[in-house]
């Protein structure tokens, strides 16, 4: 056991020196991941979109139609930025990306409303940008509902309705919608807290791929194994350890940025979160090492790691629900550590899940570490076969030398 620890310590020291000697590797395990994460946060930092541009085609020009336009503009999420004379102009504005929706108020809108002829206001919204389009359409629906409720109330009162019964007459059933765990439907707690871990996983993977790949690229693996007295397991552990610690620190930093600095609500337990981070890092490192042993070539391994981790965000199931994904996507997402991590993070932060509820996903993360065994075995086999060829080369040389002597 003591020997095991000395071996690990020797490799750990060697690794730290290697990191400090390489500017790129040092950036990769220190400021670079944090800078990339902050960049993603900066893009979405507004949180709740405001003043999304809407064009209006008002063919009525009445008091009531102008009032509707004011209602739309008063909605904080919407802003009437253009008044155009026909729908074709509105469509062109939408195609140019200058407005996200066109509202059409028909001729005789006011007259028909008061004659109870139920005129129809049309809103064409750009659904190519689904996320923005949904925001525009739901806010438009909300604004319009308030607008007609007001007209309705005036009409009911005018036709002799009772003030006390007014609300029940205008809207018999109203629905109060409560967004749980993200009260203001802000995009930072929703999207950024999922995108940042996906980015984090990329760094977890790449730092390992780079560390191991550089040994083989620079042909220094003999020296590396030598530090661990030839014990592959200690060599791997000692080499991984600095990255494990630094990746967990990065995890803690982004979590404390969200739930400390930005003071977003956190209902979970920081101890559990630390455990989740650690398990996610180990799972990611195990996969990374496995990917590396598939090629034993640095640049190719990074390309494969990129293919594995870059699309991961789409599979997490935060933007598009996992339940609606096809079977193949379900399988692929379960093979990504970050999927399990994300469910655990949401479980802790939003729901404050207890340990027993965490257990299934934690076990899944644990299963990933089994690939360590495969990876270590492959590293060992690769080393042994290399040694064998070295030895045969050596004996060949000796034989040749001996032959020369004979001559």
């Amino acid at each position: 056991m003591g020997l095991f620890i000395t071996q690990i310590k020797a490799v750990w020291q060697r690794e730290n020196q290697l990191i400090l000697a390489s500017k790129w590797q040092l950036s990769l395990v220190t400021w670079l991941p944090l800078a990339c994460m902050l960049l993603v946060y900066a893009i979405f930092s507004q949180g709740i979109p405001r003043d999304l541009a809407v064009a209006v085609v008002d063919q009525d020009h009445s008091r009531l139609s102008r009032s509707l336009v004011r209602y739309i503009d008063a909605n904080p999420a919407l802003a009437v930025t253009a008044q155009v004379t026909n729908l074709a102009e509105g469509k062109a504005l939408m195609q140019r990306g200058e407005v996200y929706a066109v509202v059409h108020i028909p001729r005789d809108f006011e007259k028909q409303t008061y004659l109870a002829m139920t005129p129809e206001v049309s809103t064409f919204y750009n659904a190519q940008y689904v996320l923005i389009g949904k925001l525009v359409s739901s806010n438009m629906a909300k604004t319009f509902a308030t607008f007609i409720a007001q007209i309705d109330a005036v009409k009911t009162l005018a036709s002799g309705g009772h003030l006390a019964l007014l609300k029940g007459a205008v809207a018999p059933i109203s629905t109060q919608v409560n967004p749980l765990y993200n009260v203001s439907t802000n995009y930072v707690p929703f999207l950024v807290t999922a995108a940042v871990p996906a980015l984090w996983q990329i760094f977890v993977l790449v730092s390992v791929l780079l560390a191991f790949g550089l040994e083989y690229k620079n042909n220094t693996q003999a020296n590396w194994f030598q530090r661990a007295d030839g014990a592959v397991v200690s060599a791997v552990i000692g080499k991984l350890l600095p990255y494990t610690l630094l990746s967990v620190v990065h995890g803690l930093l982004f979590l404390s940025f969200f739930y400390g600095y930005l003071s977003m609500p956190m209902h979970g337990n920081w101890g559990f979160l630390l455990l989740i981070l650690l398990m996610a890092v180990l799972a990611g490192q195990a996969i990374a090492l496995f990917i590396f042993t598939l090629t034993m070539n640095l640049t190719q391994a990074i390309s494969m790691g990129a293919a594995y981790s870059a699309p991961a965000f789409a599979f997490i199931g935060v933007t598009f629900p996992a339940e609606s994904m096809p079977q193949l996507a379900q399988i692929w997402r379960s093979l990504l550590p970050i999927t399990h991590y994300m469910q655990l993070q949401i479980g802790q932060v939003n729901y404050g899940q207890n340990f027993m509820t965490l257990l299934p996903q934690l076990t899944s993360l644990g299963l990933f570490t089994l690939t360590f065994v495969v990876a270590v075995a492959r590293l060992k086999r690769h080393r042994d076969s290399a040694l064998l060829t070295d030895r045969t080369l050596l004996t060949d040389k000796k034989a040749i030398a001996a032959g020369d002597d004979d001559a």
């Binding site: 507004q46 139920t118 064409f124 919204y125 059933i173 790449v206 699309p311 994904m325 996507a329 939003n350």
Partner: protein, 388 residues
Amino acid sequence: MHKFLALVVFELKSIFADRSILLTMFGGIIMYSILYPLPYSQQVSRDAEIVVVDYDRSSMSRELIRMVNATPDTHISGQVDSIYDAEELIVQGEIKGFLIIPEHFRRDLLMKKPVTLSLGGDASYFMTYSTIASGILQAGGTLSAQIKVARLTVDKESILLAKQQWQPASLNLQPVFNQENGYLDYVVPAVFILILQQTLLIVSGILSGSQNERSRAQEQGYWLTAPPTLLLLARCCVFLSLYLVFSLYYFGFALDMYGVNRLAAAWDIVKLLVPFLLAVVCLGVALGQLYNQAETATQVILFSSMSVLFSSGFIWPVSEIPTWLVTVSQLFPSTAAIQGLLQLNQMGADFEMVSHFQTQLLIQCVGYALLAIILLAYKQRKYSIKAC
């Protein structure tokens, strides 16, 4: 001319001799074209699981439950006795929301008192949340309308009139360019453009990076002896032809296979695509001179992908992105290409409407080409002197 052709041959040989480049280019292009669209093959999310807390247990509340279940958006997986139980089910991950029908729901409606339904939706998942909200608002709205029609009919009016008059004006919300709000149509066309840019930046980066490695090992390769302008021209030619083939696969075959809108004429797409690809190659060559190692290229591009995608304006409104980031994002060819090609191909804009994107891409071409030539010349001088 002969010299140029020789350079093209050299470039082709270097590309096809490097397994990392082949893996990223052919493997990546095909792999990403399958992987990125995979989660979205059903286009929309339906049947979000919810439970009902029914405090009324009347004929009217059962009618509402039936209506909620009938919408494609929600699926009621059961009834529970309290909000506490419902929240517990959310924590367990079994449901994504719950509907509360208040006590005296039926009685209040008959007495013309207003009633309020309560809906709790797990906003950790926005899309599911909005699906649930739309399903229940729709069901509640329909029942509300039925009640109003029934009342009007009782009061005095004919049922036909009542059906028209239950509200003073109606709103018709019409999604355009992507009629079913499909996620595949939303994500795929834009991501494809990003994939083309990122893989191209990676492969040209690996090419330059490994040539830099060899230069440092005192190797006087063709990349150090050829005139920089000619070298850039040869590289542009090679990558442009390769990537035009990949673009054909993406914009022709793949978009068609996924059933995504393709409204633009092929020639209009080419008019944006060629400046885009050329700008990317030139940027790639310029960036490539900065990599000391071949593997740095993949990493730099990989780490920046998410920010480049999110700042390109199709996920998050440009007006909401900090100004300095918008300025930075204009430097990537993908930003103009995504916006231009989406408007052209998905929204059916005329080419005149997007011609300013073409101008922007052409300016990038010239700028990055100059930068690439300067950096190539600098590298050549640096390593030739050493060799002397």
